[in-house]
Subunit: 342 residues, 2 copies
Amino acid sequence: MLNDRKKKILQLIIEDYISTAEPVGSRTIARKYDLGISPATIRNEMSDLELLGYLEKPHTSAGRVPSAQAYRFYVDSLIEPGSLTDNDMALINSWYKERRRNIDDIFQSTAKILSRMTQNVSMVLANKDTGAVFRYIKFLPLDSSHAILCIVTDDGNVDNCVVEIPLGMRPEEMDYLAGRISSVLEGKELSEISDELLSALHMDVAEDKVLFTSFLQAIKRMSRKQNEQRVFLGGTKQLLNQPEFRDVERVKSLLGILEEEKVVRDLLVAGEDSGLKITIGTENKFTGIQDCSMVQATYRLNGKIVGTMAVLGPTRMEYGKVITVMDYLHKYLKTIFEQEKE
Amino acid sequence: MLNDRKKKILQLIIEDYISTAEPVGSRTIARKYDLGISPATIRNEMSDLELLGYLEKPHTSAGRVPSAQAYRFYVDSLIEPGSLTDNDMALINSWYKERRRNIDDIFQSTAKILSRMTQNVSMVLANKDTGAVFRYIKFLPLDSSHAILCIVTDDGNVDNCVVEIPLGMRPEEMDYLAGRISSVLEGKELSEISDELLSALHMDVAEDKVLFTSFLQAIKRMSRKQNEQRVFLGGTKQLLNQPEFRDVERVKSLLGILEEEKVVRDLLVAGEDSGLKITIGTENKFTGIQDCSMVQATYRLNGKIVGTMAVLGPTRMEYGKVITVMDYLHKYLKTIFEQEKE
DNA sequence: GTTAGCACTCTAACAAATTGAGTGCTAACA
DNA sequence: TGTTAGCACTCAATTTGTTAGAGTGCTAAC
């Protein structure tokens, strides 16, 4: 185990490196932070820390740089939970208010805020299965040959599509049909409306084939939408602010990965189990981001995963800040979602 | 006026520079393209072209580079209309099919395709005012204290929101209210439903204040959505492929501009009048992109502007290819929109 | 255990030398 | 008169050389 002084020195080196991106030398530590010991002593300690695998030298006469192991130790043992400044909180709140018309806007804002606050790329995965329950369908007349089919769920969502009215069908007949379909599906969760159920229904109302096909498509679309996971990215531009990404090639390769929605989704899903997950460098098994770190937080509502958010950046990342921001966003979202459900 | 040989040489220089991004020297031209004249002769011609303002020298002993004037001449007189390869057309068609669920997806795909085919940033502005006409509103029951307010327009769009039912109000009363509002607004274009009209309506039904406010919000939102212009960007990542943007600072500054949706919208609206508009370098009056060129095509349906698409990149741009691609997309969209309207 | 002193190392920054692509001019040629 | 070979000249880019500075590791003294 490291003694207190080693810990302290290691912490200072890590934090200095995080903020400057420059290798840290013994004199820097002695000058900047008053530890009451001379550079030579610090040098000896650093030499030990290097031997123990916590520090690395880019070359003989540069300062030292934290290793992945050092970051791991840092996030596990050294980091102290911080809190946001009032200013930051006010900023976040105002950014959320900027544009909030539907639930997707909230996720989009979260991604944006996360990246702005951390100067890194952010990813938000929204699980949409809110367990909405089918209520009824209804046909609204449009013109002589078309009607609008509305599917109403108990969360107040309405999906609709235009359907053609079969020749000669009267409004009462359509209402009757709507009633029959409704009574069968009433109370079912959208996600549990299976193909079997629908085809059973089909037998029942087979006479009105055209109309039923339209209905089938609409309900399927709605249930798909319901189960859909959506990915929101934020701050891909922020990458360019990080000295690690001064090199255009590196930017390109990372952006290439982020462009593949499927990859991002897999990446996020892989880390969903634990509440807060921090992967440093090669701890992450996805190729292409193994020189990056990722902090991911998954949030649940009544035990169900609602979404997960992550920050991706160079291993030299402000882990403390990231965690603090995520924590705040987490709480903020919680309030919003609970309020949404009433 | 330029004689044929000068034209030919200028064209070769421009095209060589477009494809290599390197200043073009007299020997290169003589070697690559068999004009039957020696480098010395070409040198004399180039010297003339420089005097005439078509060529510029980065420095004494580099080759020469086309001036803005040269590009202008090129797009006006030298460029010959090309056509897409079968391969490209197949690619475009498949990309369009990839994801097409609603009208926005089409615009998004257009932006994506445009950027992929041209290796530059693309912008698509979608005007949404389709001239939809108000038909009627309808309340759908949800639970004892809530209903869903649906606003139906003649194009088959339904906007909906959950409203609270005033205590003690019976369904018949709500239907009556819906009928009254509907009869006043029926047949009006959403964009012409003014505040005055709504407040006049308010006088009329003032007794049901809570419900009416909800309705007001919904109709306003719908009319806003109707007039909304949406901007779709594509291929901001492509920037990094252009040698002109090897410098991270330049990338940052351009991305900064593209991030401001309002700026992009203004930029696109400014060039909407003409069918095809090419601005080269400082011909564009917007600051920040004056070292870029922009090719913009505006498409109309029945005389009304439906949208406009543009490609933004370095002045050294494959104008011919860009125009060809846009032309194809234009035709493709036309088919889709006409089919959409039936 | 701590520290001052010092030789040693290695990069980054700067300067000087070299290379090579390209031009402009001139004189000769068809 | 238009074309071309030849040659001196220019200038950025590359290479090579030099220096300064930051940092280390070791040793000996405290």
